[in-house]
Symmetry: C2
Subunit: 412 residues, 2 copies
């Protein structure tokens, strides 16, 4: 008799966003004709710039002719794209990344989800709290987290690193003095700029994590999907700017937010050969060739266009547009006297709920009063309670209307 | 200290195709200027037909305009495409598939690799022998197969279903009378038309598997990636043509070979709600939303075009072209007096090595004498020994030259 993977039963609740969709639909059904403003899911809204469109069209046209048609490519990604990532993306920070350390994928979410598969089930996993739910849920499904403690809102065997106002939303390195000899983490997920808080790790803080990982022989899984939103160059845009990181860190990157590829699907991971004496690179390579068949050749042509100087220039204009939205949101919240964080080097604003109201209660309140959809902080971990995430992805006119509606209609 | 997933150490050898590449490169280096004919990897070579190119271009153009741009889509796939798959693909067999049972992916390889994740580690897995290596390797990496017995060339805890001349390369249902109460399989991978043998399961044979699975409460994972090559309508093109299959079978499908999407990347799985009382559908849905972020929106537009009447007509012309190649190969082998199977309702020809020579030895022989690259049967499982796989994917002029070279130069 076939038996299911019972780890799935441990998943605390439905994925965050379906619940948001459900409540939003219920509101719409009860209030037909009311205009809803969506500041919830971080989904890009602006069209792709001309050079990327040209790259994608070239990708399609190549498939129309016998001389340029291509079938299966390397599972690890087109060599031209892996070189461009090494030279154009990492080269600008003066970093030397071998194209054989770069693995192109169909997006950062898949890599963030799948990377845990190359590690044993007996690793202690540490996550930022709050964090992007994928890190937690994929480790739950694989059986590394123990069961969910409903009262505390945590998994028994998962190491939570609180990101709270007291530490400027930057986690402390995972040590638990209450456990004998100090409980240490083997796999550490970090996201900077963080989703959902919008907090960016300083060089000093990130250095502490790299030193910790080298000492404890841990591996850091560094999600840099929002790095292009960092405008203040004092913050590191890749973990490899920190000395020693190539010995202990895997970096995950994405074209989703930097080039508007949320629906187009393209990302990459860097797995340095110096991590775990080469084992991580060898296993990720084996996993890629066995479980994956490469990103779309059309889409990879688009990625190549995004990494040209002109492509980056055009993409940065779109990023500036979204960051203009973030400023509108921040000013609106200021005018209303609502406390908030992030939103200066990240597309997300981490808004404190008035009176530290429960985040799902506030979700209902702002939806009912201002017709704005946000993302409840509790969906990202227990330390997200008392906050909601606002996203700056959207058409500017809608962002303005949403902010006006909050300023005029939210009762606080 | 971070620990790796030690199941990867159990993988018998490098993936088959890298070894072929290595030997071919060594031959090329030793014999510069010699023209090599590749009948190895089953990779499409002919350009995409006009209606698909138009669909893909539409997908790109939509992203250039603010009114038609789209970001994240449903992880399960664009509803229009899921409906088209249900209505256009399954509808023509008079089958009723709910679009909520259809999950669009970036290709059948990924689905074939990932589907095992929704099942527990305590399931007994049965595979055809020979079979597409992905079924075996992904179960090895997940820890379901035990260790590799080098002498026998098998994994201790994997159930092999031999596909040999005596059973017309169609496996028998997995029962082991040597074990107490008969060892039964919980998860059964079937591929028809089979890769590598090119054998197509008859209705009668497939009915036996469905009956077995219903009785044993097993789940069949049916890979139908090559179904469009079936020209003889007496063979089932989908497992759902068999009564009761919707209670026990998951079907995996692909646009790779049917529409030339090997590099474009698009496939789907059908997970009926009636399998395991709905659990399989619910878990695959949860897995898709957690580990995946949808297939590329551009590529899905191409898939929609492939499912129109005109798209199918054009794709079938390309399939006929490849099947013409298969005929050239079969006739060449006949002229040479070499025994072979498959290649009439499948793109693969399963060639018996002269004198039942070891398949890797014959690989070297045909490469050295006729300059033809084939795929050694042993790479697909122990029952593949004594055979090689020839692929009909290629330009017709190259296929003709390859066959001429075999006829004129191979010494048997």
């Amino acid at each position: 008799m076939a038996k299911i993977n019972e780890n799935y039963d441990k998943l605390a609740a439905g994925y965050l966003f379906p619940e948001i969709t459900k409540r939003t639909k219920a509101f719409q059904a009860a209030n037909p004709g009311v205009q809803i403003y969506r500041l919830g899911i971080g989904n890009t809204t602006e069209p792709l710039p001309p050079s990327i469109i040209a790259g994608l069209k070239l990708g399609v046209e190549k498939l129309a002719n016998v001389g340029t048609y291509s079938g299966y490519g390397d599972e690890q990604g087109d060599e031209r794209l892996r070189k461009a990532i090494a030279e154009k993306h990492y080269g600008r920070y003066g970093l030397s990344i071998d194209p054989l350390e770069v693995f192109v994928s169909d997006g950062a979410k898949c890599d963030a989800a799948n990377i845990q598969q190359i590690f044993g089930l007996d690793n202690v996993v540490a996550v930022q709290d709050p964090a992007y739910p994928v890190y937690v849920d994929t480790n739950v499904a694989s059986g590394r987290t123990g069961t969910f403690d409903k009262e505390k809102g945590v998994y028994d065997e998962l190491f939570y690193m609180p990101c709270i106002e007291e530490n400027e939303f930057m986690p402390n390195t995972p040590c638990d003095p209450s456990k004998p000899a100090g409980w240490k983490a083997d796999l550490i997920y970090l996201c900077s700029p963080n989703n959902p808080t919008g907090a960016v790790m300083t060089r000093g803080k990130l250095r502490k994590f790299v030193n910790y990982a080298r000492l404890a022989e841990s591996v850091i899984i560094f999600d840099a999907a929002y790095s292009e939103f960092i405008k203040d160059s004092s913050f590191p845009k890749t973990i490899y700017e920190i000395e020693g990181a190539k010995e202990c860190a895997i970096e995950i990157q994405s074209f989703s937010k930097s080039a508007g590829f949320t629906g187009v699907r393209l990302g990459w991971s860097v797995v340095p050969k110096s991590v775990m004496g080469g084992k991580a690179n060898a296993l990720w390579n084996r996993r890629s060739t066995t479980f994956f068949n490469g990103a779309s050749n059309i889409v990879q042509e688009g990625g190549l266009a995004a990494l040209t100087d002109q492509g980056r220039f055009e993409c940065n204009q779109v990023i500036d547009y979204y960051m203009g939205n973030a400023e509108i949101i921040r000013k609106g919240l200021d005018a209303k006297g609502i406390r908030h964080f992030g939103g200066t080097n990240a597309p997300f604003i981490w808004m404190q709920t008035p009176g530290k109201m429960k985040s799902w209660d506030f979700f209902d309140k702002i939806l009912n009063e201002a017709h704005v959809v946000c993302t409840p902080g509790a969906g990202f971990g227990p330390s997200g309670e008392g906050y909601v995430r606002l996203s700056s992805f959207g058409h500017k006119e809608n962002i303005k209307k949403a902010v006006d509606s909050v300023v005029n209609n939210l009762k606080i």
